[in-house]
C-alpha cells in the first residue's frame, strides 16, 4: 500500500506542467470560444499556426507506466539486426524519448486520396506515464494546420510506434501530406509496428488480435486503468464525423476522442507487454499460456532466433497444448531439429505425429525422405511414401474449392514421383528383397502400428 502511495507522489511530482509542452510547440494554444461547443465537449484548446487553426487535446495518464526497452526485445521488434537499418535509425530506436505512439481516426478504411484522418492521436512517455496529445480538425479546411503540427511532433520524435500503422495510418498520412503540396512528408527514423508480432504470438490463442481483444486477454484489462465498457463501435466512427460536419450532434465525437485515447494507451501497454515477453531469455512458464509460447516460438523462428524458438517450443509442448496444435508444434520442432542437422531427433518427432489426421501426411513424407537420405533405406522410404499417399487420398477434401484440391493434387504428383523413383531404385537392388517389400508397400506397412 505504501509502495503505491510512494509511486503516486513520485509521479505527481514528475507530472508535466502544461506550459512545458506548449513551449515546444510551434503553434500557440488558446482557450476555445464559448461558442465552440465541440472544443468544450472534448476539452480541447485551439491551436493556431501559420496554416490556420485546429483543436488540440492534451492529457497525461499514469498508466501504462514507462518501461525501459530491453535491447533484445527491441532488436526483435525492429529487425535491428537487419544490416539495412541505418545508424540514425539505430540511435533513434534505442532512445525512448524519440518515440511517438500514433493512432488515427479516419473517414473510412478504403484508403486512397479521398480518405481523411480527422483525429490524429499521439502519445509519448513522459514523467513515468504517458502524455497523450490529440489533434482534431473541425472541418477539412483545418487539415493543413493539423498536419503542420503533426510534422513538428514527428521531427522531435521520429520513431513511430503503431498498431497496423505501417499499412494503414502512416501511408494515409503520407497521402495527406502529399496532398497539401505545402508540407513535406516528415521523415521517420524508424517505424515499429506491433500488429505482426502480436498476431504471430496471440492469434493462435485469441483468434482475433484486435487491440480490444489483446487488452482483455493479454494485458489484464482490470489493471490497465481504463474501461472499454461504454466504448463506441469503431465501424461507426466515420459516420459520427460526417454527421457532425453536416451540423448533426457532436456528442458522439467525445466517445471517438476517448476511444482514440484508449487505443493509444493500449498500444503503449502492448509495447510494454511485448518488451517483457521478448526480453526474457526464457519466459517463466507459469505466467505465459502454452499457446502463447508456441506462437512466440514461431515468431522467434521467423525473426532468426532458432535457439530461443526451440526452447519456447519445447516449453509449450511440456506445458501441454490442445490436441490440434500439439501435432503442429511437434512438426515445427522436428523441422527445427532437421535444420540443425539433428535428423534422429526429427525422426522421433515425426513418428510421434504419424497418426495425426492433418500433420500425418507431412510426417510420412518427411520420414520417407529421412529413410531415403539419412538411413539409405529405400524400402522403408517407399513404405512411408506409400503411407503418405494413402493418407492424402483419404483426406481428399470434398469441397468444391479448386485451390485446396489443386494443393492436394500437387502433393499427390510429388508423392507419386517419389514412389516411382524409389521403386526403380528397389528394382535395381537385390532380387530377394524386391518381391515381398513391394507388395508390403502397397498395403499398410506393419511398423506403423507400433508408432501409434
Amino acid at each position: 500500500m505504501t509502495a503505491t502511495l510512494d509511486k503516486f507522489s513520485r509521479i505527481a511530482a514528475l507530472k508535466p506542467v502544461l506550459a512545458r509542452s506548449a513551449a515546444s510547440l510551434s503553434a500557440s494554444l488558446s482557450p476555445p470560444d464559448k461558442e465552440d461547443p465541440i472544443a468544450q465537449l472534448i476539452g480541447a484548446q485551439v491551436a493556431t499556426n501559420r496554416f490556420g487553426e485546429h483543436l488540440s487535446v492534451s492529457n497525461w495518464f499514469s498508466t501504462p507506466e514507462f518501461v525501459e526497452p530491453v535491447p533484445t526485445s527491441l532488436a526483435l521488434l525492429s529487425h535491428m539486426r537487419d544490416e539495412a537499418l541505418s545508424r540514425r535509425a539505430r540511435t533513434a530506436l534505442s532512445d525512448p524519448t524519440k518515440w511517438l505512439f500514433l493512432d488515427t481516426e479516419t473517414t473510412g478504411l478504403a484508403g486512397g486520396t479521398g480518405t481523411y484522418a480527422f483525429l490524429v492521436g499521439l502519445a509519448w512517455w513522459d514523467a513515468g506515464g504517458l502524455q497523450v496529445e490529440q489533434f482534431f480538425m473541425r472541418d477539412f479546411a483545418e487539415e493543413h494546420s493539423l498536419l503542420h503540427e503533426l510534422a513538428a511532433r514527428i521531427s522531435q520524435r521520429p520513431v513511430l510506434v503503431t498498431f497496423n500503422g505501417k499499412s494503414f495510418d502512416w501511408p494515409l498520412l503520407e497521402n495527406r501530406f502529399t496532398m497539401t503540396r505545402a508540407i513535406a512528408v516528415p521523415r521517420l527514423a524508424a517505424h515499429l509496428d506491433l500488429l505482426h508480432p502480436a498476431r504471430a504470438v496471440w492469434k493462435l490463442r485469441l483468434g482475433s488480435v484486435r487491440l480490444v481483444e489483446l487488452e482483455r486477454h493479454v494485458l489484464d484489462a482490470p489493471r490497465l486503468g481504463w474501461r472499454r465498457d461504454d466504448d463506441i463501435a469503431s465501424a461507426l466512427i466515420p459516420q459520427f464525423y460526417f454527421d457532425y460536419l453536416r451540423g448533426g450532434s457532436s456528442r458522439p465525437l467525445v466517445g471517438v476522442v476517448r476511444h482514440n485515447q484508449m487505443d493509444l494507451r493500449g498500444l503503449a501497454a502492448l509495447y510494454a507487454k511485448m518488451n517483457s515477453l521478448l526480453g526474457q531469455d526464457s519466459p517463466s512458464s507459469d505466467e505465459v499460456p502454452s499457446l502463447d509460447l508456441f506462437g512466440l516460438s514461431r515468431f522467434l523462428l521467423r525473426r532468426g532466433e532458432p535457439d530461443r524458438a526451440q526452447s519456447a517450443c519445447v516449453q509449450s509442448i511440456n506445458l501441454g497444448l490442445p490436441c490440434d496444435v500439439h501435432a503442429r508444434a511437434r512438426r515445427e520442432l522436428a523441422q527445427m531439429a532437421k535444420r540443425r542437422g539433428d535428423h534422429e531427433r526429427a525422426a522421433t518427432l515425426w513418428h510421434e505425429i504419424i497418426s495425426d489426421p492433418v500433420e500425418g501426411i507431412h510426417a510420412c513424407e518427411q520420414l520417407a525422405l529421412y529413410y531415403e537420405r539419412q538411413r539409405k533405406n529405400p524400402v522403408r522410404a517407399a513404405e512411408y511414401a506409400n503411407l503418405a499417399l494413402a493418407k492424402l487420398r483419404r483426406s481428399r477434401p470434398h469441397v468444391r474449392d479448386p485451390f485446396a484440391s489443386a494443393r492436394v493434387s500437387l502433393s499427390e504428383t510429388r508423392l507419386l514421383r517419389r514412389i516411382a523413383r524409389l521403386e526403380r531404385k528397389l528394382a535395381s537392388s537385390t532380387e530377394a528383397l524386391k518381391a515381398p517389400l513391394l507388395s508390403a508397400a502397397k498395403h499398410t506397412p506393419p511398423n506403423t502400428a507400433k508408432n501409434r
Binding site: 473510412g108 486512397g112 479521398g114 479546411a141 503540396r181 460526417f242 453536416r246 484440391s405
Partner: protein
C-alpha cells in the same frame, strides 16, 4: 453486276523493292488467292452469290528521313531493328508532336503507327531522363504487345529507360518500382480510373513529370466507353494540373468519319489531324458473299455460319493463313468446332485451327498470337478481340461471318489480311439480318460511304456524376472549377445534399466511406466476372465471362463451348460468381431466351399526328419543319398514333433457353430458368398505336400482333443504319401503353420478347400471341443512362418510317423473311402485309416531308443535349 466479276485484276501489283524470295512468295500467294476466288465464282451460277468484287491495287511506300532533332542513339536503335528511315506520315507525326501540338494520327491497320508516338516520346526521355509518359490501350493484351516492342528498343538503347505495364495483372510488389522508375507506363483506362487516379499521391513522380499521354485505338472510345474515357481524362488532367503539368496528347485512330472531332471532344482541346499514310500496302480483293437462296418464297438462304466456314475452309485448303471473324462468342466457338472437324490433326499434335476471344486466359492468348506470327497456326476464329492492333503478323485472308455492324469495323477486320506485301483477300459473308442484306445488295453504299461517325456524350448525367464523385475523392473540388459542360456548383450542392460531399472553405470534399471508383465500371453495368471451372476431373479454371454474359452463356443446363470443347453447366454459383461445368459431347448447343419489359418513367416529348407536345422538355429542339408539317395537317383526319421519347426503366431477364441442333440449327428442346432480373434506367424512343388504328386494320388479332413484331424488327434495323450505330446498341420491346395517358408513372408493364437483332435463330412464338390493345413499340438505348439515340430518332421519326417501308416493300419474299420483318415461320401468315399497312397508316399522319430531311441520310446526333 456481272461485269464486276472479273476475278483477276487488270493491273499487275506494284510494290516496294523486295528480295527475289519475297517476290516469289508474293507471286505464290497471288496465284493461290485467285484460285480460291475463281472457285467461288465457278460455284456462283446465277451470279447472286458474289454480289461485289473490288480490287485494290498495291501501293508503294513513301519514305522520309528521321528529323534532325532525333537523338542519334535512337536512330541507331531503329536502324538496328531494320528501320533505316520512317514513312512520311511517321516523320510528320513526330514533327507535330515535337512542335508541342496534340495530334491524332489516322491510319489503317499495320501502317507503323507505333513508331509515330514512340519516336517523339523516346526522344524526349533520352533528352531529359525525368520525362514521363502514360500510354493508354483499350485492352491489356494490346499493352503487352507494345511492351514487347518497347523492351526490344530499350535493349538496343542499353536499357536507358524504364517501361512497364500497370494493370490488374501487375504483382503488388512490383508496383512501387513501377511508380518510381517507369518512364513509360502502359495501362488501360480502367486501371487509370480505379488504380492510378485515386492513388495519385503514390504516383507523385510520374505526375510531376508527365509530359505525354498516348491514346491508342482512339476509335474504340465511342458511345458509352468514350463518354467514360472523356471523364477519366478530365480527372487525369485535373490531377496533372495539381502537380503543375499540362501533358500533351498523341492519339492513334483507325479510319472513322470524324477522328478529329472525336479526339477534340475526348481531349476537350484542339487536336491536329494527320491522315496521310506513307506505308505500303499489298494488293487486296474485297468480296461480298451472299449465301445462296434455298427457298425464295420464304426468303431462306443457306446458313451464313456454314457458308462462312466453307469459305474459310477453301482458303485453308490452299494453305492460306486465314482469320475468321464471328460476331458473337457462341458463333466463334461454333465455327471453331466446324473448322477443327474439317481439319483433323493426328492425336498429340497441336491444333492448327484455334479460337480467340475474351474469356480465354491471357497465357493461352499470347500462345495463339505467337502461333499466328510464326505460321504454326493456320487458321483462327475470333470475335472482335483481334480487330484491334494486336500483332499477329500478316495473314492471307480475312473472312467475316456476318456484317460486323459498322463500316469502320468491317475495314478493320478486312485489314487483318495482307499487311505489307503479297496479295490478300477479304470476304464478307452476309447473314440474313436486314442490315447484312442491305449492305451486300447495295455494295456502293458500303464502298462509297465514309465509315461511321464516332460520338460520345460525356455530359450524360449518369456518367458524369459518377466521375464527379471520383474526382472529388481524388482532389477536393474547388467552387470555381469546371468539369464538363454542366452547372458544377449545382451538381456539387446536390451531391452534398445526398451526403457524398461536404463544403469547407470553397472546396467540396469527399465525405463517404466508400471508394467510388470501385463501383463504377467503364465498360459494362457491373464489374463482376464469373469464373468458369471445369470439374470433369480435377477442378480447373478454364475461363471467365462478365456478369451480363454469364446469365446468357453459363446459366444452368447451358452448353458452354470453349476452345471447341462443349461443356454442360452443372451449377451456377451466383453468390461466389462461379460456374461449374463438365465436359460433354452432344450434338446441340443452347441459346438463351431473354424477356424484356419497359416502363415509361418520364416522357420528354410526344408528337401526335396533329400536334407536337413538348413536355417539360427544356432543351428538346423539335425540327421546325416537322412541327409545321404536322400542324398543317387538319385535325379531322386524326390518325390514331403518336411517337415520343423519354426516360424509361428496362427490366430484362433470361427466362429460358432453347436447344439447337448443330448444322441443321433445328430447335430440339427448351428449358426454363429462374435467374435474377437486370434493371436499367435509360432513354427510349417509342411509337404508340392507338386502339382505333389497330381495330381498323383488316387482319386477325394474331396477324396484327405479328405485324407489329415484324415492323419493330425492321424499324430497329433501319434505325441502326440511320444512326450509324452498332445494332446491339439498340434494344427493342413491345409493351402496353400506360392505361391513363396523364399519369406516366402508372404500371404499363407488359412482357414482350426482345429479339436479338443479330440473331438469325428462330424466335419463340409465345410472345407474339399476346393481344395488345394500345401497344408501344420501343427502341431503347441499350445502356444505362442512354447514349443519346432516342431524341434523334424522335426527330427523324418520319424518315425512319419511310426507309422502313422501302425495306419491307422492296423485299422479294412473299410473307416475311429474316431480311425484312423476320422469318416467316415465326409470324402469322399475313404479317408482312399487316406491317406494311400499319406503316401506311403511320405515314398518313405527316407525309409532306421536306426534301432536306429526305436527303440527310445521317441523323445529326450532336444537336441533342440532355
Amino acid at each position: 453486276m456481272s461485269e464486276s466479276l472479273a476475278v483477276r485484276p487488270a493491273t499487275s501489283p506494284v510494290g516496294a523493292a523486295s528480295s527475289p524470295l519475297d517476290r516469289a512468295s508474293r507471286a505464290a500467294s497471288l496465284t493461290l488467292v485467285h484460285e480460291v476466288l475463281e472457285s467461288f465464282a465457278s460455284r456462283d451460277i446465277h451470279g447472286e452469290v458474289l454480289t461485289a468484287i473490288r480490287h485494290y491495287p498495291a501501293r508503294a511506300a513513301e519514305w522520309a528521313e528521321f528529323p534532325a532533332w532525333i537523338n542519334p542513339n535512337l536512330v541507331a536503335a531503329y536502324a538496328a531493328k531494320g528501320i533505316s528511315r520512317p514513312y512520311t506520315h511517321q516523320a510528320a507525326a513526330a514533327e507535330s508532336v515535337h512542335a508541342g501540338k496534340n495530334v491524332v494520327i489516322v491510319t489503317p491497320t499495320a501502317s507503323g503507327k507505333t513508331l509515330c508516338y514512340n519516336l517523339p516520346v523516346l526522344n524526349a526521355v533520352l533528352e531529359t531522363s525525368d520525362t514521363r509518359a502514360l500510354y493508354l490501350f483499350p485492352t491489356k493484351a494490346l499493352a503487352q504487345d507494345q511492351l514487347a516492342e518497347l523492351y526490344d528498343l530499350n535493349q538496343r538503347l542499353d536499357n536507358s529507360f524504364g517501361v512497364f505495364t500497370y494493370d490488374g495483372d501487375t504483382p503488388a510488389d512490383a508496383r512501387k518500382a513501377i511508380r518510381e522508375k517507369g518512364h513509360i507506363v502502359l495501362t488501360n483506362p480502367d486501371m487509370l480510373h480505379t488504380g492510378i487516379l485515386p492513388h495519385h499521391t503514390r504516383w507523385t513522380h510520374l505526375f510531376e513529370n508527365l509530359r505525354y499521354i498516348v491514346i491508342d485505338e482512339l476509335h474504340t472510345y465511342r458511345g458509352v466507353f468514350g463518354s467514360h474515357l472523356c471523364n477519366v481524362l478530365r480527372r487525369l488532367r485535373r490531377i496533372a494540373r495539381f502537380y503543375g503539368r499540362d501533358p500533351q496528347f498523341i492519339c492513334c485512330s483507325a479510319t472513322i468519319a470524324n477522328p478529329g472531332e472525336l479526339a477534340s471532344r475526348l481531349l476537350e482541346s484542339e487536336v491536329e489531324v494527320l491522315s496521310s499514310n506513307g506505308a505500303p500496302a499489298a494488293e487486296k480483293t474485297f468480296v461480298f458473299y451472299n449465301p445462296p437462296v434455298v427457298n425464295r418464297a420464304l426468303g431462306i438462304r443457306r446458313s451464313y455460319i456454314n457458308e462462312a466456314s466453307r469459305v474459310t475452309q477453301e482458303f485453308l485448303k490452299h494453305d492460306l493463313q486465314t482469320i475468321l471473324f464471328a460476331n458473337s462468342r457462341l458463333h466463334t466457338e461454333l465455327l471453331l468446332t466446324y473448322l477443327q472437324q474439317a481439319n483433323p490433326q493426328p492425336p498429340g499434335k497441336p491444333d492448327t485451327i484455334r479460337g480467340y476471344r475474351g474469356g480465354y486466359l491471357p497465357g493461352e492468348r499470347r500462345e495463339i498470337e505467337r502461333g499466328l506470327r510464326d505460321g504454326r497456326i493456320r487458321g483462327v476464329v475470333s470475335t472482335s478481340a483481334l480487330e484491334l492492333g494486336i500483332d499477329v503478323g500478316s495473314l492471307d485472308a480475312s473472312v467475316m461471318a456476318g456484317y460486323p455492324g459498322t463500316i469502320a469495323a468491317t475495314w478493320q477486320r478486312a485489314g487483318r489480311a495482307g499487311r505489307r506485301s503479297g496479295s490478300s483477300c477479304a470476304v464478307l459473308v452476309a447473314s440474313s439480318a436486314p442490315l447484312d442484306q442491305f449492305i451486300v445488295r447495295h455494295p456502293d453504299y458500303f464502298f462509297g460511304n465514309t465509315p461511321e461517325h464516332a460520338f460520345i456524350q460525356p455530359d450524360n448525367l449518369e456518367i458524369l456524376i459518377n466521375h464527379l464523385k471520383c474526382a472529388a475523392f481524388e482532389l477536393p473540388i474547388s467552387s470555381d472549377e469546371r468539369f464538363g459542360d454542366v452547372d458544377l456548383p449545382d451538381l456539387c450542392a446536390r451531391l452534398a445534399e445526398a451526403g457524398f460531399l461536404h463544403r469547407a472553405a470553397d472546396h467540396y470534399h469527399w465525405t463517404h466511406e466508400a471508394y467510388p471508383a470501385d463501383t463504377i465500371s467503364l465498360r459494362s453495368v457491373t464489374s463482376d466476372n464469373f469464373v468458369i471451372i471445369d470439374i470433369t476431373g480435377e477442378p480447373n479454371v478454364i475461363g471467365e465471362v462478365d456478369f451480363p454474359s454469364a446469365l446468357v452463356f453459363v446459366h444452368e443446363k447451358a452448353i458452354y463451348i470453349h476452345g471447341g470443347q462443349q461443356y454442360h453447366v452443372e451449377h451456377l454459383d451466383f453468390k461466389e460468381r462461379k460456374a461449374y461445368v463438365k465436359r460433354v459431347d452432344v450434338d446441340y448447343y443452347t441459346d438463351a431466351i431473354r424477356y424484356t419489359q419497359v416502363r415509361i418513367l418520364d416522357p420528354a416529348a410526344t408528337a401526335t399526328a396533329c400536334k407536337t407536345v413538348i413536355l417539360p422538355a427544356p432543351s428538346a429542339p423539335c425540327e421546325g419543319s416537322e412541327a409545321k408539317d404536322l400542324n398543317a395537317k387538319e385535325g379531322n383526319d386524326r390518325s390514331a398514333h403518336s411517337h415520343s421519347h423519354g426516360d424509361v426503366l428496362v427490366r430484362s431477364q433470361v427466362v429460358g433457353f432453347k436447344k439447337i441442333k448443330f448444322f441443321t440449327h433445328e430447335n430440339v428442346g427448351a428449358g426454363q430458368l429462374e435467374l435474377p432480373e437486370n434493371e436499367m434506367h435509360t432513354t427510349s424512343y417509342w411509337i404508340t398505336l392507338e386502339r382505333p388504328l389497330l381495330e381498323s386494320l383488316p387482319y386477325s388479332v394474331s396477324e396484327r400482333q405479328s405485324g407489329m413484331f415484324g415492323l419493330l424488327h425492321a424499324l430497329a434495323s433501319i434505325a441502326s443504319l440511320l444512326l450509324m450505330c452498332d445494332p446491339r446498341d439498340l434494344g427493342t420491346a413491345i409493351g402496353e401503353r400506360p392505361p391513363s395517358p396523364d399519369t406516366g408513372t402508372a404500371e404499363p408493364v407488359i412482357l414482350s420478347e426482345a429479339k436479338d437483332l443479330n440473331s438469325a435463330m428462330p424466335n419463340s412464338k409465345a410472345a407474339a400471341t399476346q393481344e395488345f390493345f394500345e401497344p408501344n413499340l420501343y427502341l431503347y438505348d441499350a445502356y444505362p443512362g442512354g447514349i443519346g439515340f432516342s431524341e434523334p430518332l424522335f426527330r427523324a421519326h418520319h424518315l425512319l418510317l419511310l426507309r422502313t417501308r422501302e425495306l419491307i416493300s422492296a423485299c422479294p419474299c412473299d410473307s416475311g423473311c429474316p431480311s425484312c420483318v423476320g422469318p416467316a415461320g415465326d409470324l402469322a401468315p399475313r404479317a408482312k402485309q399487316a406491317a406494311l399497312t400499319i406503316l401506311d397508316r403511320l405515314l398518313r399522319g405527316g407525309n409532306d416531308t421536306s426534301e432536306q430531311e429526305m436527303n440527310g441520310e445521317m441523323i445529326g446526333l450532336r444537336k441533342d443535349s440532355k
